[in-house]
């Protein structure tokens, strides 16, 4: 098993770079990070729309995705595509189980109780991961080998390509699911009005279960594709969740498209901040954005103020 203490930087910096090539480098790093935040935000949005719950254990699905794929491909030596599918299936089951055991029994609970139970879930998943994988970070080889590409003086790892393509696929798949399939439309109906949805014969409880399963699946995908770049350890979840949530708030609560765009904005801001200002404060950027939006315009960039009044906040 290959274990390393320090993560490789997302991108190998050539020694001499012009400002333009630096900017391009930061932009691509930002897009890479942004993809992950966008997917976390998408997971949040999915559960929020179906249930009105912010699942604070969302980051743990990403963490589990990364660690499970390492187990399948590095220890069991399962080929990557099959391991990928198995990982997503397993984490999806975990998400569904979480909903059945922890969320579903708490019918009509207060918002505070729901926040706490998802927090307890996140501690539980972290404990499980620490027990199974220990505290050290794990590495995963990139999906395809090969040398970094050079583009206008910037050097880009092939894994960035994989991350961007898979993110686009996930986003398109989700959009297709909600706009074109009957189940997806039923879930949208639950988001608008659970009571009315029940009246027209939609099984709301099944939709809630499905929303947890789907957002766990998206989290797992994000975890699998990011691990070759950032490594993965049991403690990675909360910060990812916080940044994904920042993206969701910036994009406008409940707006899928908004949160994806906001995810990319936050990723790029973070990478520009790390490169041009100070790497120590890079994690603070997303959080400052979060506080600024919450204090100034809680409806976000793309959400309407009217809609945010209606939300259960």
């Amino acid at each position: 098993m290959s274990r390393t203490g320090i993560g490789p930087s997302p991108i190998d910096f050539p020694t001499k770079m012009t400002f333009t090539s630096q900017l391009i480098q930061f932009l691509f790093t930002g897009l890479t990070l942004g993809s992950i935040y966008a997917m976390v935000a998408l997971g949040f949005t999915m559960i929020y729309n179906a249930t009105g719950i912010i699942n604070l254990a969302q980051g743990e699905f990403v963490m589990l995705g990364g660690l499970v794929i390492v187990f399948f491909t590095m220890i069991l030596k399962i080929p990557l595509p099959i391991g990928f599918a198995l990982t997503v299936t397993l984490v999806t089951l975990v998400g569904a189980l979480f909903e059945r055991l922890a969320i579903q029994p708490l019918k009509n609970a207060s918002v505070i109780t729901l926040i706490i139970i998802t927090l307890a879930g996140s501690i539980l998943f972290r404990g499980l991961a620490m027990f199974l994988w220990g505290k050290d970070p794990y590495a995963l080889p990139p999906f395809s080998g090969g040398n970094p590409w050079h583009f206008m003086g910037a050097s880009l790892q092939p894994q960035i390509f994989w991350i961007l393509v898979i993110t686009v696929l996930v986003v398109c798949g989700t959009a297709f699911f909600f706009n074109r399939t009957l189940v997806g439309k039923a879930m949208t109906a639950c988001a608008f009005n659970p009571l009315a949805a029940r009246l027209v014969g939609i099984d709301v409880q099944r939709m809630v279960l499905l929303s947890f399963a789907l957002s766990a699946a998206i989290g797992a995908i994000a975890g699998v594709i990011i691990t070759p770049i950032t490594l993965m350890d049991y403690e990675r979840g909360p910060l990812l969740a916080l940044k994904g949530f920042s993206a969701m708030v910036l994009g406008g609560l409940g707006s899928g498209a908004g949160s994806i765009i906001a995810g990319f904005i936050i990723g790029i801001l973070e990478s520009l901040g790390a490169g041009l200002i100070s790497s120590g404060y890079k994690d603070a950027i997303a959080l400052l954005v979060l506080l600024a939006v919450l204090w100034v315009k809680p409806s976000g960039l793309f959400g309407s103020a009217e809609a945010s009044e209606l939300k259960k906040f």
Binding site: I54, L56, A102, P105, L106, A109, V111, I112, T113, I115, I116, I117, L119, A120, G121, I123, L124, F125, R126, G127, L128, M130, F131, G134, P238, L239, L242, F245, S246, V249, S278, G280, Y281, D283, A284, L287, L288, L290, L291, L294, W295, P298, K312, F313
Partner: protein
């Protein structure tokens, strides 16, 4: 303070007073009780905020950190008297709480939770990055022990000091609850709209109780810094904020006693879970989950309900 609070208060006071004598004053048990008192100080503030004002904070480790770093930095780097450093920490926490609380407390539910979470994380980053002052990730060492008339306060004396604070804060909080402010807070918790309609300035009271809870946390942080004499950012992380919140919820938010019980359970529990070694976080998570699912009102209310049911079934069998 109401009459029914008198006996538990007396019980705790006497219990702490005789504890070093009864337990033989072993350093381990005394330090556990000191930590319990320190955590209890912070959770009482959170309990006021959650149980009475109905607001959640996932960032109280930040105020705890402000207290600890104020004491640590001012006493080690500027040789300022610990008492002045202690007051400076309180002052700084109160100002930060006011500035942050003002816009944040307008938010509700999930938004409030995540805004405080973000605030706590930003402070955590500052503790790490302002290394000329805070010592950065490797921490700040050599914080002097407190002295009284030239004698260092240590062992059971420190226990008495911490618990004197706990009891004073407890009495203050119990009085606060039964005052005009407390009634206003409960009205806000019940229905903010109705409270506003009755002329209660809800947002002002919420900010006030937020500041009070930050002051409690800052006091706890200062006491912590002087007790352990070494502080590093990891003690003030998001995890600690969550732990504090869990203490309040596990104990029960309906009374301030619940938060002390919760602090006791979650301070002592990890000591018993040591036997599980690598399992401990897992077992911890499971225990939290089970308590939340089966006693959503917290252990205190859960036990009370259990006792009442038992009494009920006994009186039935007598008939």
């Amino acid at each position: 303070m109401s009459r029914k609070d008198f006996w538990p208060l007396l019980f705790i006071t006497l219990g702490i007073a005789v504890f070093p004598i009864v337990a033989g004053g072993s350093e381990y048990s005394i330090s556990l009780l000191v930590f319990l008192g320190i955590n209890g100080l912070t959770t009482m503030g959170l309990s006021l905020l959650m149980g009475y004002a109905g607001q959640i904070s996932l960032g109280h480790a930040a105020f705890y950190g402000i207290g600890a770093y104020s004491s640590g930095i001012l006493t080690t780097k500027y040789s300022i008297h610990p008492l002045i450093a202690f007051l400076a920490g309180i002052f700084l926490s109160a100002i930060v709480a006011f500035l942050v609380g003002k816009p944040t407390l307008r938010l509700r539910g999930h938004y409030m939770a995540v805004a405080t979470l973000g605030f706590g994380e930003i402070l955590f980053i500052l503790f790490n990055e302002l290394s000329p002052l805070t010592g950065g990730p490797s921490g700040l060492s050599g914080i002097p022990a407190l002295t009284f008339l030239g004698q260092p306060i240590e062992g059971s004396a420190y226990l008495y000091l911490v618990w004197a604070f706990v009891i004073l804060v407890l009495i203050f909080s119990l009085n606060l609850i039964n005052s005009r402010v407390g009634r206003a807070l409960r009205a806000v918790h019940g229905s903010e709209l109705a409270a506003n309609a009755m002329g209660v300035d809800a947002s002002r009271y919420k900010v006030q109780v937020f500041v009070v809870s930050a002051i409690y946390a800052s006091m706890a942080g200062s006491l912590y810094a002087h007790f352990v004499t070494f502080i590093s950012p990891s003690s003030f992380s998001l995890m600690f904020s969550i732990l504090l919140l869990m203490m309040v919820v596990i104990g029960g938010t309906s009374t301030i006693w619940g938060s002390l019980l919760g602090a006791a359970v979650l301070t002592l529990l990890p000591e018993y879970l040591r036997a599980f070694e690598d399992f401990d976080v897992l077992v911890y998570g499971i225990i939290l989950m089970v308590v939340l699912l089966f006693m959503p009102q917290g252990i205190l209310e859960g036990l009370r309900g259990f006792m009442e049911r038992k009494r009920g079934s006994q009186s039935k069998s007598h008939e």
